[in-house]
Amino acid sequence: MGKRVVITGLGVCAPNGIGLDDFTKALQDGTSGIRFDKQLEDLEFACQIAGEPQLNETLINQYFTPLQLRGLNASGILYGVIAGTDAWKDAGLSIAEKEAPDWDSGIIFGTGILGVDKFRESTHLVDSKNVRRIGSTTVLQTMASGISAYLGGILGCGNQVTTNSSACTTGTEGILMAYDRIVSGKAKRILTGSCSDSGPYVWGGFDAMRILPRKYNDNPTKGSRPMSASAAGFVPGSGAGALILESLESAQERGAKIYAEVLGGAVNSGGQRGKGSMTAPNSHAVQRCIREAVESADIQSADVDAINGHLTATSKDPTEIKNWAKALKRDGKDFPYVNSFKGLFGHCLAASGSIESVGAVLQFRKGQVFGNVNCDDLHTEILELVDEEKIPRKTILHSAKIVAKASFGFGDVNACVIFKAFND
């Protein structure tokens, strides 16, 4: 029997709130973090709205030394360090002494692509035959594992320190990687999370694919419409979420507060076979992933009280709901409560799974299921499967015992994790 795993710390740097207090309030109240983006307008993007965390210098200076900030031009590192350090502190953990690392603590902090703006800077220098002017931190800011490397150095972690990358499943996958490492006794605790850079060089490719909404530039907060009949594409976002996963025995020894238990989960791929492709999920794989997650957690599908979906606000949302309904064999009034936080901050890509997991777990703390926005016109195919009351349009009081969170990503990859309210 492997070790039980609990969540003892959370941190978040989201477009609609930095820090747990602001983020919780924004989710409870339905406060949007999606804004008009002047730079996207100047560059003639079709979609000129985005969800970007609102950082300022005072805040940044609390997390970075002047030396670390020298030439730092990687927004994902800013977001990831803020969320990761906050989660560490929230768990009541201390920073390792100067002479030796904390061998029991590791980091699995993912990203899709890192330091894009820094990379652009160096590309210009290289092309103008000025490679010698690139400086010493370009490599550290643009290597994918830059984020785990920065956090690892700040906190002094001596267990596994790595970065996973699986497109938009990255954050949720990372939670399960951390879970596995703790269950097997290889680490006492892992800081897991994910981050995603902001800006046109990250989002441009999606604009070119014509999968971002184009008609909400004058009305940004209405642009992200998960589960709605008028869903018009996902709003690009950025940020970071972070969770401390820890063995139950370590948490209890430390007297740490416990947000929830991680019961298990599953990851798989549709192999880009059947109806799966590089960009579209194979529904059989999605259903299988959800079923395997339920089995791994040793619960019945009837036990799932609430779902926090991937639900990006594209035409695929009804397909996702169908997959949940089939996998759990539940529909109508029997369907669990379901929400998508993307209506409030868009699709934060590699960061989405971790930011949304932080939100999903906060629901236990508040005894609430946070409300959906921009879906008063629910998609008819969704209404055929799910009773309207299961898709709350306002935050409701409901003490869920089991919350399932899933993320799906390009490359036909899937991840589903099962969280449980902790009471022992």
């Binding site: 030394t65 030396l67 020298r70 030439g71 400086g135 010493s136």
Partner: protein
Amino acid sequence: MTGTEHYQKLHDIIKIYLPEDVSAEHISEESHLINELNINSANLVDIVLDVEDAFDIRLENEDMDQMETVKDALRIIDSKLSDK
């Protein structure tokens, strides 16, 4: 620019790269950048770039190799400026 101004300018560049446990008061003309001020060798690359910008000069690899102490750096800066 006088010698004192050069020193002050260099001092202000170097102090950013000091590790947390070395204060700017430790910087003197005699200080060895790596051995005494504990500056990370990767950061020497950045100090060179900052010096290039601040004094509008260009430093070559061999200049960098000779730049062990603050005094060495000042000597190299002066010679580059007089060559201009």
